[in-house]
Symmetry: C2
Subunit: 207 residues, 2 copies
C-alpha cells in the first residue's frame, strides 16, 4: 500500500472507531487491525496515539467544513433558510446513523478537555470555527434586518451550537430524533422567530 | 474498615476519579488504590466495573437531587426565581471547580450511550428525572400565567436541560464560565422572557 494511502486508511478507520466508541475506549491495536496496517507504519506517520488524535480532529473538521460550505454558502437563499437546511442535513445524517455516535467534535470536547491540553486547544480551535459558521449566518441575517432585536450574532451562535451539541447527546441517549426537532423548533420559533415555511424538511414532534 | 464504610469509600473515590477522567479512562485498580481497598472487597459489593458504574449513576443522582430539592422546592419564592437560583448554584459550583469535570450525568450520557445498554437505560432514567425537575418549575410557572404563550413545559424543559448540558461542555472546553452566562441569559431573556431582577446572582457577559 502506498504510504499516502496507508495514512489515509489509518485516519479513516480510526475516525470510524473513535466516533463510535470514544477516544479512550478505542485501542491503537484495534485501529491498526481495522486498517490492516502494522504498528511500525503507524509510527511512521504519528508520534503517538495522542498525536494521531490531533490529526483526527482535522479529519473530522474537513467533513464538517464541507457540510458547512454546501449548506451555508449558497447566496441564492436567505441566511436563515441556509441555517435551517444545514440543521436538517445533520438531522437526516443522524437518522441514517440510527442516532448513534453523535458529533465527533462534541464527543472529544467532552471526553478530552480535561485530559490533554493540546487536545483541548485543538478541539477549541475547531469548535470556534463551527460556531463561526453559524455566526456568519446570523450576521448576514442581522444585516438583512432578519435577526430579532436584542440578539447578538456572536453569543446567539454560541448558544445555538452548544444547545445543538446538547440535543445531539440527548438524541444519542434516547435513540430518538425528537431532541433535535425540539431544538430546531425552539431556535427558529422562539429565539430567531423565523417561520420555517419553505426552509426545507422539518420534522414534527411526537412528544 | 466496616463493610458499609468500604462500599461508600469505593463509590466516593470512584465518583471523584470518573467525574474527572471519564469512565473508560479510569482503571479499576486506580479506584481501589485511591480507596485503599483490596480488589477482593470490590467484588464483594460489585459484580464488575460496569455494575459499579450503574451504582455510581445513582450516587451522582443523590447529589443532583439534593441540589434540586434545595433550590426547586422552596414554595416561598416563584418558580422562575427558583429555576434561576438553581442555575446560579451550579454556576458557582463549576467556578469553584475551575470549570473542570462538567456534569457527571452529561459525561456518562455522551461516553456510554452507545457502549452499554444497561448504562444507557440507567442514565436515561436519571436524565429524565433531571428534566422532570425543570418541567415541574415550568408547569408551576404556566399555572401562574408566567410562561410565554406557545411554550410547552415538557419540550421547553428538555430543551433547557439539553442546552445547559451543551453549555457545560463548552465551559469545560474553554475553561471559562461565559457559556453558562450566555445560556442563562438566552433562556431567561429570550425564551422564558422573565426579568432576572431579584432572582439572585447573575453574571455579566464579557463576550
Amino acid at each position: 500500500m502506498a504510504r499516502d494511502t496507508s495514512k489515509k486508511t489509518i485516519l479513516r478507520e480510526g475516525a470510524r472507531l473513535i466516533h463510535a466508541k470514544g477516544f479512550n475506549k478505542t485501542g491503537l491495536q484495534e485501529i491498526l487491525n481495522a486498517a490492516q496496517i502494522p504498528k511500525g507504519s503507524f509510527y511512521f506517520y504519528f508520534k503517538s496515539k495522542d498525536d494521531f488524535g490531533l490529526e483526527l480532529v482535522d479529519y473530522y473538521w474537513k467533513f464538517i467544513e464541507a457540510m458547512g460550505e454546501k449548506y451555508l454558502s449558497d447566496s441564492r437563499i436567505s441566511p436563515m433558510e441556509r441555517l435551517s437546511g444545514f440543521m436538517d442535513a445533520y438531522q437526516v445524517m443522524f437518522e441514517n446513523m440510527e442516532m448513534r455516535c453523535g458529533c465527533p467534535i462534541g464527543n472529544l470536547m467532552q471526553e478530552m478537555s480535561d485530559l490533554s491540553e493540546p487536545f483541548r486547544e485543538k478541539v477549541g480551535d475547531i469548535y470556534a470555527r463551527m460556531h463561526g459558521h453559524i455566526a456568519q449566518m446570523l450576521m448576514e441575517a442581522k444585516d438583512l434586518g432578519e435577526l430579532p432585536a436584542g440578539l447578538d450574532p456572536e453569543s446567539t451562535s454560541q448558544f445555538i451550537l452548544n444547545s445543538w451539541e446538547g440535543a445531539i447527546m440527548h438524541m444519542k441517549l434516547v435513540k430518538n430524533i425528537e431532541p433535535l426537532i425540539i431544538f430546531k423548533n425552539m431556535v427558529f420559533d422562539h429565539i430567531l422567530k423565523i417561520s420555517q415555511k419553505g426552509t426545507g424538511k422539518r420534522g414534527t414532534s411526537n412528544g
